[in-house]
Point group: D3
Chain length 244, copies 6
Amino acid sequence: MTLWRWAECTRDELKAVLPDGIVVLPIGATEQHGPHLATGTDALLSGTVAERAALASSASSARDLVLAPCLAFGASDHHLSFGGTLSLGAETMTAVLTDLGRSIVEDGGRRLVIVNGHGGNRGVCHAAAAALSARHGLVVAIVHYWELLSAPGDGTPVPGHAGEFETAMVLAVRPELVRERGRRPAVPPESTVEGVDLHDAGAWRRIDGYTDEPERANETRGKAWLEECVTELTGRLVELGSAL
Amino acid sequence: MTLWRWAECTRDELKAVLPDGIVVLPIGATEQHGPHLATGTDALLSGTVAERAALASSASSARDLVLAPCLAFGASDHHLSFGGTLSLGAETMTAVLTDLGRSIVEDGGRRLVIVNGHGGNRGVCHAAAAALSARHGLVVAIVHYWELLSAPGDGTPVPGHAGEFETAMVLAVRPELVRERGRRPAVPPESTVEGVDLHDAGAWRRIDGYTDEPERANETRGKAWLEECVTELTGRLVELGSAL
Amino acid sequence: MTLWRWAECTRDELKAVLPDGIVVLPIGATEQHGPHLATGTDALLSGTVAERAALASSASSARDLVLAPCLAFGASDHHLSFGGTLSLGAETMTAVLTDLGRSIVEDGGRRLVIVNGHGGNRGVCHAAAAALSARHGLVVAIVHYWELLSAPGDGTPVPGHAGEFETAMVLAVRPELVRERGRRPAVPPESTVEGVDLHDAGAWRRIDGYTDEPERANETRGKAWLEECVTELTGRLVELGSAL
Amino acid sequence: MTLWRWAECTRDELKAVLPDGIVVLPIGATEQHGPHLATGTDALLSGTVAERAALASSASSARDLVLAPCLAFGASDHHLSFGGTLSLGAETMTAVLTDLGRSIVEDGGRRLVIVNGHGGNRGVCHAAAAALSARHGLVVAIVHYWELLSAPGDGTPVPGHAGEFETAMVLAVRPELVRERGRRPAVPPESTVEGVDLHDAGAWRRIDGYTDEPERANETRGKAWLEECVTELTGRLVELGSAL
Amino acid sequence: MTLWRWAECTRDELKAVLPDGIVVLPIGATEQHGPHLATGTDALLSGTVAERAALASSASSARDLVLAPCLAFGASDHHLSFGGTLSLGAETMTAVLTDLGRSIVEDGGRRLVIVNGHGGNRGVCHAAAAALSARHGLVVAIVHYWELLSAPGDGTPVPGHAGEFETAMVLAVRPELVRERGRRPAVPPESTVEGVDLHDAGAWRRIDGYTDEPERANETRGKAWLEECVTELTGRLVELGSAL
Amino acid sequence: MTLWRWAECTRDELKAVLPDGIVVLPIGATEQHGPHLATGTDALLSGTVAERAALASSASSARDLVLAPCLAFGASDHHLSFGGTLSLGAETMTAVLTDLGRSIVEDGGRRLVIVNGHGGNRGVCHAAAAALSARHGLVVAIVHYWELLSAPGDGTPVPGHAGEFETAMVLAVRPELVRERGRRPAVPPESTVEGVDLHDAGAWRRIDGYTDEPERANETRGKAWLEECVTELTGRLVELGSAL
């Protein structure tokens, strides 16, 4: 089928496509990514992966795809103290996603795929999706794009935050957004407990706001990761075209 | 150290314990669990697992544990259409968790472990934890108790909803809450796409509100699962006592 | 008729009972009760009175009764500064009661009796009940359980807060939750003006968070009060079974 | 001391008076009052009683009084279906009172007396007062003006709604706002249960939106009631001037 | 046609008039107006202009007019630091207007004219009107009364805040609400950029909370301005009676 | 000085620039623009004008400029019924702007210029700016970009909605987003009353969702208008660099 870009379509084109199509909404964040990486990283990466995958899958998908504008802001209150962060509170971000989903339903749409690029959006995506499905009958699929990757053999954290993985991905997409990377100073080891989701604003401070060594990142690996993300999401979108 | 039950303590006992202790808050739901299982299942199971693990871990934990009253209501709007459901909307449930966390901070506490028993609470737990950590400096850990289990060898969905797993667990804890189970009628296979989190209220109706065969459940397996959940959570609480 | 416990019933049992039945929802608080009384007092007492009365009245009631899980948290912001308090803000507590009532209506129910055990919940009960009745057609009855008592001859404040009355009631129900009570230090007389409802957080501090002498409390009087509360509420529930 | 009318004072006058003074805020409603009585009744009556009492008490009060503008709108969702009603939802009305109280604190004030003229405002007054006292340290007193009356010997409901009492009061204040009153048609007896606060929107419809016989009302009795309300509130304001 | 005052009408009179009539709602503020002017200025002026114009236009209007009670409180957070201000937050004020508009629709009304007397209410008027029109089909017209005036030849700011214009208007309506006016001390010139709407709380402090010279105000000019406002609004109401 | 693009900067670059710089935030909408124009028109135009003006003014501005990512969604509930619209409710949009402004303050910023491209955002811009200024001390300037134009001599409505002006502007920026334009069918003349801001969802339907003749639009005129908008905004940004 076809890829439509919402913002470039007229209302009548969208009215024709939405009832049987799938809306793809990339969301990210604008927040501190250490001293070396641009604050727009998350929106850049989810937007890039979503766009490429939507384009790649449209030919073989059983449904038309409609790519909505990327939402560049996310739930980033935990990064505010570092500077450079534009955050929507959890309540506001939930309301934004709920309002956008409700709009899609009023416009005739029935299926939404959120392609998320920011770990801090996990909760609000889930909460909004549950509300939209229960209240408006919208079918909502959530993909955190990095979860489609196979685990790196050398233990690199994926996605981490502003560490090797994200730095490499940005090197692959827009290398000019990566600043010179010195050697990361030693930081106390992060507390993790398996199977437990930890929220600790203080921990972010102790590691200076990024999780692992950006200096290890290189463009080659970034391109491979990017390729894999796009390929995997492409496959998922095709599957969703049949499943939903 | 010691296990304290919040509701049974005086303010002065809590003032002494909270600054260095860990609050454990079990949360569940009161919602339809098919024609055969009690609506209070999720609160019963998270409450039971949390209490037993808190008790078991208190001796070897490096911190006192304070067990808060179980919150019996959760974000269950997607089950309202089946009857028997007492739901808090996603926005309300987020506010409840946020207010409780804020209270803990005003009371002198610094660490909260939410033991969750309801899949529908995932998003609101995460959203509230992020807000509490960023706004009030509370360290929040979230455990969805079933995620601590090793995967069953025969592919039984864990936790599913009101299927073999939960039915077996209730048989292990309060068997009188399981009604006679006929053979589950054939249902259309559930749509799933790997790595994608799907929210589809219509899908719940197509499978009559429960995911797999409750008639396969037996008490023996339930007791083993329960035991494993308690043991694993006990270990996590001990780890958290050192890590936080 | 019959007493059903919501959390122990299946959805189908509740679907059958709710249209002609009455839901009884006990609500309390988890908040400081002086240096001598457990923080769970209010939930314990409203839960106990509600459960006993529901059981006692079910035989003679013209309608089935459905006992919902006790909500252990209430609007207790005015007790936060003392420690030991888990409070829902007034706005959140109103939303919780409104969401629960709306759920009952979606589940097929038409009648709700809130049995309240915490003075600070008065306003939110009333506000939520008015909203539920107007917006969803739910009939809501509110009982503050202590208001059913005849006035004690010796002027003991009922319920007061953590004074003789509540201490005696806890002695009657779970005496181990009452700590040793020294003699209450003299406190400045409370400002009261007849017919005026006074809200003064500072006044709570001046009286150290409890209103009168817990050392006067004894189990005998507590049992008599408890009995009277249960008997009176039993009668009210029977009356409501005919009136609603 | 002196009576100041907030709206007629300058900021500097108010800055001088508020720290030691008492703010008196009359609130009412604009809602259906049967076929015979003006919709502005509640605001008219609370405004009149508050103003007269504030004036009468100012001479002997130990504190200056500051009369705020009457809030003519209240929580009247339960009267919307009759027409003629301008209602604020319970959540909005709570926010209004909370914002006004917060303003008073920022302006230097410490004491607020709400003189309420509408039964439907009970809950929101209480909820907002609790929040203001706990969050901002404002001392809030609530008076429902009719509760200061001694019970009429003949059982006339006070205040009822748009029945004999309110009709007589309006006859005493602005008789042109009472339309011709035919004989009230027989209505089914109202369900009441002693000690239980019942919220039933359907009950309002069964009695056509007013509680008892307006045709019994006369100006003489209205003037006596009005006089008693003013006298009693005057006394309370004097008492509050000493107590707060 | 006829002018009806909402608060003085019965529900049945309003039910008859609202479907074809126009509701006129004056809104103002209660906020600091410098050292010389009463805090109730904005509500006084919008209420006065609205009432006189409604009366004047009713004879020639093609529709009945229904004058709602004046809302004396507005969005004045930016004046709180000066004292004497009773403010509703922007969110609360939006909710108030939305609830009042929704009530009008439930009462059978279809047309609302908001006559606004406070610059700080611009945004909330517009936001609420957009919501009411889209959600409830209410037609909402907003008039900021001073915008109907022709520009004064001598550059007097209209309306300014508590400067010559408003002071003159109050001199025309209730001269006793204007205190003695000394010579305004020199203030730094206000930053303005043409076509740009500037919000700067600090700027209010730099000019001591009022914009221009109240000592220039006189009653004669005030009466002329008032007359022009009333005449212009009268004309607009007549036009709206035909246009809506 | 320099133009910085927020999303392309690191946190440390932003920390250095924000205290003395000015943040420029373009906002638009994604909503129906008739049968002929892309739904992304408003965001495209405000984004384009803001970016070009920010670039042009940076050299001569006394302050650094920081261009935030364009917010592509706005308050468009009134366009939902036409299809193709992604709307944030007025309350949500107010919260988004308030959260973004609060973030800027926490990041060290003090000055924000909102460049708005959608008439429906007027109210929420104003409401959020007032709140941000009063609560957080942020100086907020709002520019509706089309208001900087001199009035066209031939009476073309500016901006109208999806009529000649916006169509011409899109022809100038991205002509492929304009579909074939037939002759606009005759529509009833729009009701307007001078000096009155009318909100009427029904009126939008009567004119099929656009205000005037798109077929009159041509690229030449669009380029001239665009140029003038950019030039004027450039001047305003320079002025603001000195004034704020």
